[in-house]
Symmetry: C3
Subunit: 271 residues, 3 copies
């Protein structure tokens, strides 16, 4: 019987052979890191946010990754154009609502996007999901704070309200499509010392979702790959600077066999 580890490993293999084009509309802080992570996984990034070209670009892509960091009205408008086109062309949309809760406007903009189109996967931290659900006490700036027990309930509620797969990253990553609940335990705390760690994780999810038949499995594969790379990079790092450098090296070298051997992923329910 085909195991969960087989399925996750196969996604990385497919990704490296198929080289999907990933259209990123992302924030200015992590844009370079996001493009590099995408290349490291074997996919091709295209960073384009002008309203004049996003519809054309997304039609050529195998995934659309929307990241709401450093939002501006113009770029949010372009996200909406690209997302509508992605829905029409059946291109999966991965949304990272960076800093939801940092301002009421940012939270409202995320909901405006979520209500206008069908997002495939939301990748966020616990604080951002709590903020989207109306509880803004759990976010500080763009960082999650407070207790982590409720991640499962938060993921299920946001999935139910949006129809999207919701993947909440933390010490344990949790993801649900509303019927199945999965967990990924790969990862390393050093990621939290680097700006854009969540954005890079979202890029991994977008790459995997571009080739996975089952998007929940794509989300899991992306977070396993990112988590494994964190673990390996941590063994080479002397701090946040060398950790990020090693992360790119390790991501580029990661093989399907590595994923098979190292994945700490489980189906908690509904599998």
């Amino acid at each position: 019987m085909r195991s969960l580890a087989d399925a996750l490993a196969e996604i990385l293999g497919t990704l490296r052979s198929r080289q999907p084009l990933i259209h990123h509309i992302t924030n200015f802080v992590a844009m370079n890191d996001v493009a590099n992570v995408t290349l490291c996984l074997g996919a091709l990034p295209i960073m384009a946010h002008a309203p004049e070209e996003v519809a054309n670009v997304v039609r050529q892509a195998q995934a659309l990754a929307l990241n709401m960091g450093t939002p501006t009205r113009d770029r949010l408008d372009s996200m909406a154009i690209a997302a509508r086109e992605a829905n029409a062309a059946r291109v999966p949309i991965i949304l990272d609502p960076v800093g939801a809760g940092a301002s009421p406007w940012r939270t409202a903009m995320a909901w405006q996007l979520l209500k206008g189109v069908q997002v495939t996967i939301i990748r966020a931290n616990r604080g951002e999901v709590a903020a989207l659900l109306g509880d803004e006490r759990r976010v500080r700036g763009v960082e999650a704070i407070g207790p982590s027990q409720d991640a499962e309930a938060l993921a299920c509620e946001l999935s139910s309200r949006t129809g999207a797969i919701v993947a909440i990253t933390g010490a344990r990553d949790l993801m649900t499509d509303g019927s199945r609940l999965m967990a990924v335990d790969n990862g390393h705390p050093l990621l939290a010392t680097v700006s854009g760690g969540g954005c890079m994780a979202t890029a991994c999810v977008a790459c995997c979702a571009a080739v996975a038949e089952d998007p929940l499995m794509g989300a899991a594969a992306g977070l396993v790959i990112m988590g494994l790379a964190e673990e390996r990079a941590a063994t080479q790092a002397r701090g946040p600077g060398s950790f990020k450098v090693a992360l790119m090296d390790v991501l580029a070298a990661l093989t399907p066999d590595d994923v098979h051997a190292g994945a700490r992923c489980s189906i908690l329910s509904g599998g």
Copy 2:
């Protein structure tokens, strides 16, 4: 009696325990480095420049860092909104007038900001301060050129005209609040080989100003911390690329004891 070294070391200790939120409106070149430096010091960066959210964001922050590199009309307008709100909420404002003198427009924009609000600390190089004071011969692009003897006079004049603490960085960093004059001799010339070195120094100053009771001491602590990190990173570096990586590693590892032992800071007058 409590020494200057005690006071500087204590600021880093407070910073790491209190984890202040730093609202950056910064340039697109150094945005990633600025966010990472902020995290390395133990603070939380939030990068937000949309006019719809900056007032809300800055009210949650413990410092507002405004960096005028790659300026555009929109972002300058957002800086003004955020700065007015910061004044109302008594959040310290740290201004880095990157490239003042590179164009008359950029210089005028810096003054427009300085006249509309009370900035707490201006962190700049000598050429930029000279340009703000009407002498544009001392800047080339965004780099300072020419003799350095007059930094003290320039700092005092700009402080007098703005009511802000002025910190001019160079081989010797000088800072004044109009009555006291301090010097920091930590640092390393390799910083000049890296784009955004000044922006990173400004980020350090903003982090320290967010927690220091005395903002002049905050400016000094920020420049001591940055300078110490430069010195240590230089011992690990093979050039500008590895220097920046090591700078992040070293900043994250720096302890109050390191600051106490390594600070080369003095009160030149008015102490």
Copy 3:
């Protein structure tokens, strides 16, 4: 008799002694890397794209580098203003039509710029040049795909239609000014694993074109320097992350003697 290697080495020597100011209007993904590469070569970068200041900035510069990645209407307008001023002030213009072919709009914007001003050097990959010449099958996202035999014909045709020197980078770099055809064989495939590799090559070309009397020789010198740095960085790299770090270290350390000894550059015809 003065050799080709002498001429290329001399350009790096002149660059390091003269420290030209390079005005970059570039994309948000590679902006930091482009500024750092410029500094590593001994030139001074200024990143400025506000319409209010670009004309003033470019008049102080020794080269204007225009990079069309992450294009927006506003920045394209600023490029046109700066380019017209550069033509008037006889400042060489280096254009990198990143992702031409990624959307019809982007291709059209590149032509709008090329028709309004005289560009000195176009640095692009084969797919981008093909797209500019009306064949959009050879580009995927911003990456070139397909056969490489026709690079010479493509370079000559684009040069003929624009009056610019055209430098197409690939396993073998080819460049022509319409009468002479040159090749550079320095380089390393690891560059393709890093986002912004082409943008960094363009920055090297811009730095050299700022000081070279013969712009074709400037283009060749820039690509020799970049290629040599790639070769050396590859020996230190464990993957894309450490490769980019090493690239900066190596670029900063490269001497005219290194260029003389390592250049693999030839004049194929018209020399």
